[in-house]
Symmetry: C2
Subunit: 370 residues, 2 copies
């Protein structure tokens, strides 16, 4: 029987899951995840005030969400010191990325990103027929000037930078980011992913008012705010771009609990400061655990630490698998030379203790396996 025909672009795409979730790993291996420190979630959880707001709002869940996300958008705009038509809300940064790529990338259009950077962006670009131009990292940093140069050279429609960076955890101070912005052609969209922005050092986030029309910034409630499961991110920038989201978005896509939870999270600055301190302490703790096993923790401006396992990608993969066998879920960079690292998310002390116990054993397992 003939099947309805997919579009040519979709027909050529692979079926994929950008990240295999810990639940799928559990289903595949039969080994329960005891320490969930692989997806850069926040095991510290959201503010108790967020949970209280969600509980209060739950009986209203029969109502559709406000498709304009008005209350949350207004609160974010106030916080950022911009107008509410300069910010839009989406189903996490992943959802916003899909919309942004659809808005700007037609088949054959070029997008510049770093080799080994966030794979979900690449998924969306390929999914819309875009062409990736990949720029290697410089050391543990995205190579800003090489990215800007490539954007000009290939006539890119879009260039992507995460600051702080995932999966390496590095960051660039404001002056470097501003020089990068100045070096990119003005008709090329700069997608500045600040998912880890609330966890960055004070000099890691450019002023809002330095924005140019081609800079679109992305933030999320999934990381510092401990709300990965609720799916809520936002984009802010030039209002002509922000308004255009209304041409393509799923207007009722941001669920009602997300609107409520994000609003409450945004209002609880004390809790955010506590999390920032806990994240910093847990980064140090991961560093100590790594050093105690003879490994090298890399500096981090995020809620995870890339740990150099000292050998090649196969060895680091063996360490990751040995940790998984012991119920410790971590992830790792996949592109050389960073694939020598594993990437460990911060978490409460119970999870850090499980890591401390499992890592020496996992290293022994890995040395036997490779």
């Amino acid at each position: 029987m003939p099947l309805p025909r997919f579009t040519d672009i979709v027909d050529a795409l692979p079926e994929t899951v950008p990240f295999v979730g810990p639940e799928a790993i559990e289903r595949q291996t039969g080994i329960p995840v005891r320490a969930r420190i692989g997806a850069n979630e926040s095991g510290f959880g959201p503010s108790p005030r967020v949970l209280a707001a969600m509980a209060d709002a739950a009986p209203q869940i029969w109502r559709y969400p406000d498709p304009e996300n008005h209350v949350l958008r207004t609160a974010l705009a106030d916080r950022l010191g911009i107008s509410s038509d300069e910010v839009t809300i989406g189903e996490g940064i992943d959802g916003l990325m899909g919309l942004i790529v659809r808005m700007f990338i037609a088949p054959g259009d070029k997008v510049v990103t770093s080799l080994g950077a966030y794979p979900t962006l690449n998924y969306h670009i390929v999914g819309h027929g875009g062409v990736l131009e990949l720029v290697p990292y410089r050391g543990e940093h995205e190579d800003l000037m090489a990215l800007a140069e490539a954007a000009g050279r290939v006539g890119a429609k879009m260039v992507y930078v995460a600051n702080p960076d995932n999966p390496m955890g590095s960051y660039w101070p404001v002056a470097e980011i501003e020089a990068f912005i100045a070096a990119v052609p003005e008709d090329c969209l700069i997608l500045l992913d600040e998912a880890y922005g609330e966890l960055a050092p004070a000099d890691g986030l450019p002023e809002i008012n330095t924005q140019k029309a081609n800079v679109l910034r992305l933030r999320t409630f999934s990381k510092a705010y401990g709300l990965a499961g609720i799916r809520c991110g936002y984009a802010f920038g030039d209002r002509r771009i922000i308004r255009a989201f209304d041409r393509v978005r799923n207007h009722f896509g941001v669920n009602r609990q997300a609107q409520v939870a994000a609003l409450a999270a945004l209002a609880d600055d004390d809790y955010l400061r506590q999390v920032q301190l806990k994240v910093a302490a847990a980064r140090d703790r991961i560093g100590e655990i790594a050093i105690a096993s003879g490994l090298t923790p890399l500096p981090s401006a995020t809620n995870f630490v890339a740990v150099d396992c000292g050998r090649n990608g196969a060895f680091a993969m063996a360490v990751l698998k040995a940790l998984a066998n012991r119920g410790v879920f971590v992830r790792k960079p996949m592109v050389a030379p960073h694939d020598r690292c594993i990437r460990i998310s911060v978490g409460p002390e119970a999870e850090m203790q499980m890591l401390a116990e499992a890592l020496p054993q996992a290293l022994q397992d890995a040395q036997g396996a490779v």
Copy 2:
């Protein structure tokens, strides 16, 4: 300053909100909505077991949702008597529609739907450069044979039918739907929207095993299950089509509370039966209220009733506005001749009573206004 260029398709699209939400109406008018009976939500709310499951799960909201939606997908497949790779979950039917259109509709491709049917589908089709072929209703029903004929005549990639229908509330029995399916060319995707399926008469839903490869069916937890705010819908059909969603979807798009709430809703058949009875009783109540004011309620297989106001579209709009001025939020069909109706969602008795009080006054207001 030059702005990054949108794609040609997106550049030509209008900025839009497919439906103005009641919150936006409140902001515009300053009049609080007292009776929220316009968006075909379920004021009866979700099962208490759903709220309990959401409360239990809330502290885990720091975790990303399972991107494979495995538990919910398995439960739905069991319920439907199909394999778990024949069903996919999305951010409401609206979100799924966006993906389906992206999967099948390239610029210039034809889609057949009814004139005055669900506008969000049209939004997505136009948004992907598709071309709409609109078929008038036959009386208060979508004209199945005319839709099938148009699909063959224009070489449509897709044809859309909602059964039961929105905004008229009518439905076709199984035999008619099966004849329609048989009459549509096999390479044309039949998008069968069963958002109101759980509220339809027993003969309103085709057997699952009558499915052909080109039939993709859509259902939701927004209507009978009282979970419009959580954003969870599903599509089921041929596994080659279902698997292809993994090429384009936002894998982490379905939030964790939606997964939990939908699973609990699906397990509480007793509550669903109670809601079905309440909906039927409230439909009768709306009918009585309409008749008491000299209006004509149309038969409904859904959780709303289209009420014929007996004159033209301008008069029905005046009635709608007069109801809004009295805090009663309803919507209406926009295309003649159905625009003579207002569309009233069922709700608990308190809302029905507000309607009973406001409608005679609103009709007086409208008679003065038009």
